[in-house]
Symmetry: C3
Subunit: 173 residues, 3 copies
């Protein structure tokens, strides 16, 4: 699979292979690769997941850790000849919620930024809305924020993929 | 996207854009629009969701609130030249469970009714079976009822869509 | 739908119709049908689900109950002129976890076995990674194991289907 547009969103469930697929997409561009990790290592389990992802990815990436100020970091990285992989939007939403940020405003800002972005960019995100309604109110709010952000990003990117069992399904583009 | 058949089922996760997509489908028919809301406002959060949906939808719909007697209400609304949007089947199942109704019988009745329906009809429903098995027994039963109803309705409608991130994927038709 | 390859993986949610679809795939081959049930009846609810599945399936199957030693059982059943339906991989993973088995090793062994398998084989499995991150650590581990196994099996089989509302979506093959 090769990126045919400039911007893409890759959705998938936990351990669906969405990150690996996105890394292969980025690699196939032949451009200078930048990785924006939005995850914060709150505990050992999370730290272990982050480390495993880095190991899987290999050394040929410039890594940026940015849990909150995603648009600012993307603005600083942006340049022609680069491909930027943001992994992942759902962790960004989690961090924004933790800090009480205005998520609709942040989401709109991100979507708007894409129209002038010069690098190629691939967003990875977890689809989290296909289970039973969570009993936890914060989980329901998270699900709503993530779902709305996915709709906003999907509306402006060139390509959208849904990944399951490592296999991509093209939803747009 | 334009409805090519008379009857459709639109499945999707929470905040997937399935309702907006279904409203656009209904609007594109150019027919007199009827909206059947199955949700019951048990609490403020639910009331807020219902109100937001109504605001999003705008005033050009005849709205019917029917949490339980769905087939009776559909029978009363049915007429050529109309399009009926039922939002959503999973809330109907919830209400049936709360009242201890015979859900397989109700589901079969709904599926049977579609064969003689004269209006166009679009059912919206939440796909809820793609997460971890819920620890709560009632949630597991709900999941089973919803899944079986989806299969029954999908078998008889002309078109089925799966919506994620606001993007429809055609599953049937 | 007809199996076009020798090996297939059928993914879907709870009550998605994935088992019925897989049984029809197996039946359409016209070969001698073998059913490998990996589920263990821990409680009445589970026993009832297993019995209902057997009733739905009818008597024209040779049934093998194998909760743990899946590759050994598959090796013993394997023969040309047969079709084997394994229902399901997620229950197998559950049983392996309960016994503290080495799941990555077992998964790799299963994937390797497929290259020399002479019967046709269809694996059914639950997609469980599309809901909110479970609060329970064991549920998160289960989700990870299941997701990795799906990726491994999907990479080696000829065909992969995703089933929702009884409708198959071809992901591979």
């Amino acid at each position: 699979m090769i990126l045919s547009g400039k911007t893409a969103l890759v959705l998938g469930g936990a351990r669906s292979g969405k990150s690996s697929f996105s890394e292969r997409l980025a690699q196939a561009t032949g451009l200078e690769r930048h990785y924006v990790a939005t995850g914060r290592a709150y505990d050992d389990e999370m730290r272990e997941r982050i480390t495993r992802h880095q190991d899987d990815r290999g050394p040929s990436w410039v890594t940026h850790e940015e849990p909150v100020e995603l648009t600012r970091t993307l603005g600083a990285i942006d340049a022609p000849g680069r491909v930027v992989l943001v992994d992942c939007l759902t962790l960004w939403v989690t961090n924004l919620m933790m800090q009480g940020e205005d998520i609709p405003a942040r989401s709109a800002q991100l979507a708007a930024q894409l129209s002038t972005f010069e690098a190629r960019i691939i967003f990875v995100s977890n689809e989290v809305g296909l289970g039973i309604v969570p009993e936890n109110k914060m989980a329901r709010e998270f699900r709503d924020h993530a779902g709305r952000l996915h709709q906003q990003v999907a509306a402006v990117v060139d390509e959208v993929f849904f990944v399951a069992a490592g296999l991509p399904l093209r939803m747009k583009g």
